[in-house]
């Protein structure tokens, strides 16, 4: 119970312990704590920055998407317009072509009609001539009426 030299021994031990803690224990532990604190703060800041960048990128992506949509709509409109034009053009062309074909056909028909008419006329005249000949051959001297016959024949022919 009494105070004695143990006190001095204990004080020496205490001083050594404190010295050792001060020199070798506290600084590295405290430093590692501080470093970790800094690291965590940096990590949080980086995460926040990343978040912001993501938002920015999203905005940019949306903008690009919208522009692309507009552009594609334009292109589609243009194409539709152009398709309409082409259809119109081809309609016109077809119409013209049809008309031309019809015209040509009509011309051909006319021509053929003409020819048929000609043929018919020739045949009719021949027939008439033959008929007239047969009628006349009985009464008309061919030699006497040669002049008239050729005149008529010429007229018919």
């Amino acid at each position: 119970m009494s105070i004695n030299a143990t006190l001095i021994g204990q004080m020496i031990t205490f001083a050594l312990l404190v010295w050792f803690t001060m020199k070798y224990v506290w600084p590295p532990l405290f430093q590692s704590l501080e470093e970790r604190k800094k690291k965590i703060a940096e990590g949080l800041a980086a995460a926040e920055k990343g978040q912001e960048e993501i938002e920015l990128a999203e905005k940019r992506a949306k903008k690009v998407l919208r522009e692309a949509k507009e552009q594609s709509a334009d292109i589609v409109n243009l194409a539709q317009k152009r398709a309409g034009e082409i259809v119109e053009e081809s309609k016109d062309a077809a119409k013209k072509e049809g008309e031309r074909l019809a015209l040509a056909a009509r011309a051909q028909i006319d021509q053929e009609l003409q020819q048929v008419k000609e043929n018919l006329r020739r045949e009719v005249s021949a027939l008439a001539l033959t008929a007239a000949e047969q009628i006349l051959s009985a009464e008309i001297d061919k030699t006497k009426h040669q002049e008239i016959l050729s005149k008529v024949s010429n007229k018919l022919g």
């Binding site: 119970m1 009494s2 105070i3 004695n4 030299a5 143990t6 006190l7 001095i8 021994g9 204990q10 004080m11 031990t13 205490f14 001083a15 050594l16 312990l17 404190v18 050792f20 803690t21 001060m22 070798y24 224990v25 506290w26 600084p27 590295p28 532990l29 405290f30 430093q31 590692s32 704590l33 470093e35 970790r36 800094k38 690291k39």
Partner: protein, 258 residues
Amino acid sequence: MAAEVHAAEGATGYIVHHLTSLSAGEGFWTLHLDTLFFSALLGGLFIWFFKQAAEKATADVPGLVQNFAEMMVEFVDTQVKDSFHGRSALIAPLALTIFCWVFLFNFMDLFPVDILPGIGALMGIEYLRVVPSTDLNATFAMSISVFCLIIFYSVKIKGPWGFAKELMFQPFGPWLLPFNLLLKLVEELAKPISLALRLFGNLYAGELIFILIALLPWYLQPVLSFPWAIFHLLIITLQAFIFMVLTIVYLSMAHEDH
């Protein structure tokens, strides 16, 4: 009658035996070998553990040991920052050392009272007091060291004349100089004495109660010693904490210039 007296003597003898230190030397130069041994051992344990943690300390993911050590460092650092506003490389490590060392001292109290003395007896050691904080020498060694630091920092921060002025002229001004001086001296001296006696008293009483419980019949012992041990767990932590916080407060007072 005779048997009762003998039993009482036996009980007294048991208690006295438990409270007697293993000593060497005479008079003032007596050394309490058990106190010196156990406090050095516990100090070594503390240093070994924290040194190990400090060597492996990284700013990356900490291991279990480092985690615990950092928790202690953070805890002590918070306490220091709460009451001490200057910058000092000494105070925080000092506080950590005090807290851990005193806690380990006190923790020895939770070993069953007969185990270590019993082992000692087998090895031929007659007396063994295992709790260093039940030895006034151990508690006063710390509080006197702290007192020396208080004086040192008071003189260093305020200057010898500033400190002397504080002792003489406060709190009642120069006209009550002797009274001031007396008051201040008492105030300063009360610091180490109260620090040491508070710790000593708490632990001595706790130890005594454990010894008294050990004297009871075996079937009563667990019923009493278990709750007391749980309660004591609180006390030993609290006492270590109080010693540390008061040290910080005293030293920060020494740093404050009026």
